[in-house]
């Protein structure tokens, strides 16, 4: 008996250990790589604190930490108070009131985050509430409170109803009885509620993602938008977050008595911190502000700081992960001064009258712009748009695997079964259809449903025969690591990858490709046109444009910068010099809603198999 017991104990320990490895491996990996000396997330090259330094110096991350913390604190305090008094009031109410509230609670807890999120997003947009800190806070209170109620209510039910009577009998007013007797008796439930509310709020991504705007981002959103160029800064941030939370939990679980004894002090400290942070945040604003909405990792952050210093203003800088999500944000009422979307999206924004014309007189640096990229169909006279980066779409290939001769296949290379399982497509409906249409010899802006159907077939066949992966911006990291041999990329990303991985090369099929241009535009909501134009001008300054181009890897629209860099920094990087003006190249045009919907449906069908 003794022996079998021992043997089974070993089995228990082994099993538990294996599962704990499963739980903690990702966490440990995250923490270890935060100290990596290089950018890689898969190979440890040495120990350094550089990512922590970068983290501290990154204004947008620190701001997100501030937002996450304060929203979590405020939401916790408010939802704890609201949830606790509700739970107390609930116990003695009529059954109908009780049922109504409990059901509302269950709805919130049981409905998926994403449904709650869109509900709140619709609500805030339809009452025209400006999205930002306030909407995020309200949303967090909304989803935290039910958890507090659920944590506290059972304790209320266990309460002897005579306890409140006893307190009042001894001379306490109902309010004193609440504070001095009932709440102390519920403290276990309330602590549980606080812990739940704080962590739910601090960790939330989905709901915050949908309801925020105007430059207000929490840690999760920053992390989500960082996908483009993952680097160990995220790991450094994660490590700090993980350690903080772990320490908090250990303190609250293992030393509850300490926490309880010093609860008042802790609350006081938290309060002081909160006020301090609020003042700190308050002092930083003031003066002129410029609200910019750009794609993630699409600017050298130092340039923003320098611009702020030079023009004595504050830049509210927010990022999006796709043109479409930017559009949704704008449509649902978020306000910015400058947007930096892509050509086809600019055309749509112009048609839907979101933009205002730019006064080119205020942008003297425009003289340096490459003439070839001006006057493209999306904005023929460049009334609204000032080019920011330009490029094409092409195929990035691993020279050690792909045979040079096969390049002549053009886009069909992506269907060459020699490279089955070696292809990343880009998870973008328009780019994928562009490839399929061009491969079939059609215009990428076709409105002919027959042609579109053929393109759709092309994609389906490709998907089935090639085992393709539809990757997002993570393709960059994957190609740097050389995970697959072929990838559809934007030329700028191609250049960035080629700098990091010398085996890679870039080419544009002769069937034609997408010539794109991301440009700065000014919205109708713009509050400070002068400053907005100053920013546009600043970004075209040759020195600034050069630093930005080096940082991001995309081709500068400023001719002299592009030429210089092609010969220096990006020497031999073919992707940096896209082949503009190739005969079959086109730019994306505006799509009517019906056509757009058709493409969206087909694309969903391609992806969802």
């Amino acid at each position: 008996m003794q022996r079998t017991n021992k043997r089974s104990k070993v089995l228990y320990i082994l099993y538990i250990a294996v599962l704990f490895v499963f739980f903690y491996l990702p966490i440990v990996v995250t923490m270890v790589f935060s100290f990596n000396s290089s950018k890689s997330l898969t190979h440890m090259t040495g120990f350094s604190f550089r990512w922590y330094e970068r983290l501290i110096n990154d204004g947008s991350i620190m701001k997100a930490v501030y937002v996450s913390l304060t929203v979590a604190l405020f939401a916790t305090v408010i939802s704890t108070i609201l949830g606790t008094i509700t739970a107390i009031g609930l116990s003695k109410n009529k059954k109908i009131v009780k049922d109504v509230i409990m059901n509302i609670n269950n709805i919130t807890i049981m409905s998926p985050d994403i449904v709650t999120a869109i509900g709140l997003m619709i609500l805030f947009s339809s009452i025209m509430m400006a999205k930002g800190y306030m909407t995020m806070l309200l949303a967090h209170i909304a989803f935290c409170t039910p958890y507090v109620v659920t944590a506290v209510y059972p304790k209320v039910r266990q309460l002897d109803p005579a306890i409140a009577d006893a307190a009042m009998d001894l001379g306490a007013t109902p309010f004193q009885a609440l504070i001095k007797v009932i709440i102390p008796m519920l403290k276990d439930g309330i602590y549980a509620g606080i812990l739940l509310a704080f962590t739910m709020s601090f960790d939330d991504f989905v709901i915050s993602y949908f309801v925020t705007g105007n430059g207000v981002e929490n840690i999760s959103i920053i992390v989500y938008n960082m996908t483009k160029r993952t680097n160990p800064t995220i790991n450094a941030l994660s490590t700090i977050v993980i350690l903080t939370i772990a320490i908090l939990i250990v303190i609250s679980k293992l030393v509850p008595s300490v926490l309880r004894k010093h609860m008042k002090k802790l609350l006081a400290v938290a309060g002081v911190l909160l006020v301090g942070l609020a003042i700190f945040a308050g002092t930083r604003s003031g003066g002129r502000t410029l609200r910019i909405y750009n794609a993630g990792e699409y600017i050298d952050p130092e340039l923003i700081e320098e611009f702020e210093a030079e023009y004595d203003c504050k830049v509210v800088y927010e990022t999006f992960d796709s043109n479409e999500s930017m559009y949704t944000k704008i449509k649902s009422g978020a306000e910015y001064d400058i947007l930096i979307p892509s050509d086809y999206m600019i055309e749509r924004l112009i048609k839907e009258e979101f933009l205002q014309p730019v006064n080119w007189n205020n942008i003297p640096n425009a003289k340096g712009l490459n003439k070839e990229i001006m006057g493209m169909p999306y904005d023929p006279d460049n009334t609204y748009s000032v080019p920011y980066f330009v490029g094409t779409v092409g195929i990035l290939y691993d020279t050690t695997i792909v045979d040079e001769k096969d390049l002549s296949e053009g886009w069909e290379l992506l269907r060459d079964e020699k490279y089955k399982g070696q292809v990343y497509m880009y998870d973008s409906e328009r780019d994928s259809f562009m490839i399929a249409l061009k491969a079939n010899g059609y215009s990428m802006n076709t409105e002919d449903y027959g042609e579109i159907e053929e393109a759709y077939r092309w994609l389906i066949e490709q998907r089935d025969s090639m085992d393709v992966v539809y990757a997002g911006d993570d393709v960059i990291d994957n190609m740097i690591s050389g995970n697959k041999a072929l990838a559809v990329v934007y030329s700028g990303d191609g250049a960035y990858i080629m700098v990091e991985n010398e085996n890679m090369d870039y080419f544009e099929p002769e069937q034609g490709t997408n010539e794109w241009c991301d440009a700065m535009v000014m919205t109708k909501d713009c509050r400070d046109e002068e400053l907005a134009e100053a920013f546009m001008n600043y970004m075209l300054d040759p020195e600034v444009a050069e630093r930005n181009s080096v940082f991001v890897g995309y081709t500068s629209p400023v001719s002299c910068v592009a030429d210089t860099l092609a010969a220096t920094e990006f020497e031999g990087i073919s992707a940096y010099v896209p082949n503009f003006g190739a005969p079959k190249n086109e730019a994306f045009g505006y799509q009517e809603m019906k056509l757009k919907q058709h493409f969206a449906d087909l694309w969903t069908k391609v992806k969802a198999y």
Binding site: D160, A162, I163, D165, A166, A167, M168, D169, L170, G171, A172, T173, P174, Q176, A177, K180, V181, P184, M185, K187
Partner: protein, 348 residues
């Protein structure tokens, strides 16, 4: 004893469609130990809660020193309560529980300390000041609850079945102690119980209630010896209750015989009920009594035997110290004093 402290006038209370108090009139005096006695659901606890201020009456008034307090919240009344399950604050120690009310009054710290220590010594728990209340026994918790209420020097102490949770032996001890404390502090106690023995042994005045109506108010002796109706008679102690007819003053007729009695003032031939307590019936030889019967059962009860005698019209319950063989034919004898005549009530 004659100066009234609390007067209840026409007090009624409805919960939704249920009427739990149907017009209570009662005067409570200073320094009185008054017990509200009745079965559960009779309205005794509701009456107490109205006096404490936990419930508002649906009708009628509560006069305290002549002033209507029925709208005044409980925390402003000079009344304190000892709860059924004590309702001690589990997160406070014994000392802080007792000091709770005084601290709310913002009394001087040294004063509080003095009063609390005095009260703890009164209840014999001086050594327990720093103890957690949850670590105390039932009896000790009970004392803390009493101390917590009394330290506020209320004019009235309300006790809601405070002994219900204690075991039999502890109960007896606490009954004596409560009575002692009441004499020492010299204030009015209003005590709620469903235990008639407890009520009779502690009270100056007993109020018997049933179905939201006061059945009888009187001293324990009155209540026991002179129950006003069948309910009181049957609720207080054991008794033989017999339907009878009042032939004339001092003469009552039942079971086919006329008996002399001491009651008068009834109408001639009025239907009444008669109570004869079991210990008031003597068992005699059959020929010495009007009523005769056969001993049906005999149970030894410690001090006495409980005998059931089957007579012609009914069974009689008798308590006696003597022993009689079952099956024996006996006579039942009682004097005029032992017969108590009551108005007949219509029980629906």
């Amino acid at each position: 004893m004659n100066d009234a402290l609390i007067e209840l006038r026409g007090l009624s209370k409805n919960y939704e469609d249920q009427q739990v108090l149907k017009g209570i009139d009662l005067t409570i005096h200073r320094n009185e130990f008054l017990t509200l006695l009745g079965p559960s659901g009779c309205g005794k606890t509701t009456t107490l809660r109205i006096i404490a201020g936990f419930e508002e009456p649906s009708g009628g008034e509560v006069l305290f020193d002549g002033i209507d307090i029925s709208k005044i919240p409980s925390h402003k009344r000079e009344v304190n309560t000892v709860f059924q399950k004590y309702a001690l604050f589990p997160f406070l120690n014994v000392y802080d529980n007792v000091a709770f009310g005084l601290k709310l009054k913002k009394m001087d710290e040294t004063m509080i300390d003095h009063k609390v220590k005095h009260m703890l010594s009164l209840i014999g728990l001086s050594d327990y000041a720093k103890r957690d209340v949850t670590s105390l026994s039932g009896g000790q918790q009970q004392r803390v609850a009493i101390a917590r209420a009394l330290v506020n020097e209320p004019k009235v102490l309300l006790l809601d079945e405070p002994l219900g949770a204690l075991d039999a032996k502890l109960r007896k001890g606490m009954q004596i102690e409560l009575k002692k404390i009441q004499r020492e502090v010299g204030i009015t106690f209003i005590f709620v119980t469903h235990d008639q023995e407890e009520a009779l042994s502690m009270s100056d005045t007993v109020v018997v209630m049933n179905e939201g109506i006061i059945q009888q108010v009187g001293t324990p002796e009155d209540i026991y010896n002179e129950p006003e109706n069948r309910f009181v008679a049957s609720f207080i102690g054991e008794s033989n209750i017999i339907e009878a007819v009042m032939k004339q003053d001092l003469l009552v007729s039942f079971d086919g015989y006329d008996f002399p009695c001491v009651d008068k003032g009834f109408k001639t031939n009025e239907d009444v009920e008669v109570v004869i307590r079991p210990e008031d019936i003597d068992i005699v030889k059959p020929e010495d009594a009007k009523l005769k019967g056969v001993v049906k059962s005999i149970i030894f009860k410690g001090v006495h035997h409980e005998i059931v005698v089957e007579a012609e019209h009914r069974n009689y319950l008798i308590h006696t110290t003597d022993y009689f063989e079952p099956g024996l034919v006996v006579g039942l004898s009682f004097g005029p004093d032992d017969i108590h005549v009551m108005y007949r009530m219509d029980w629906e």
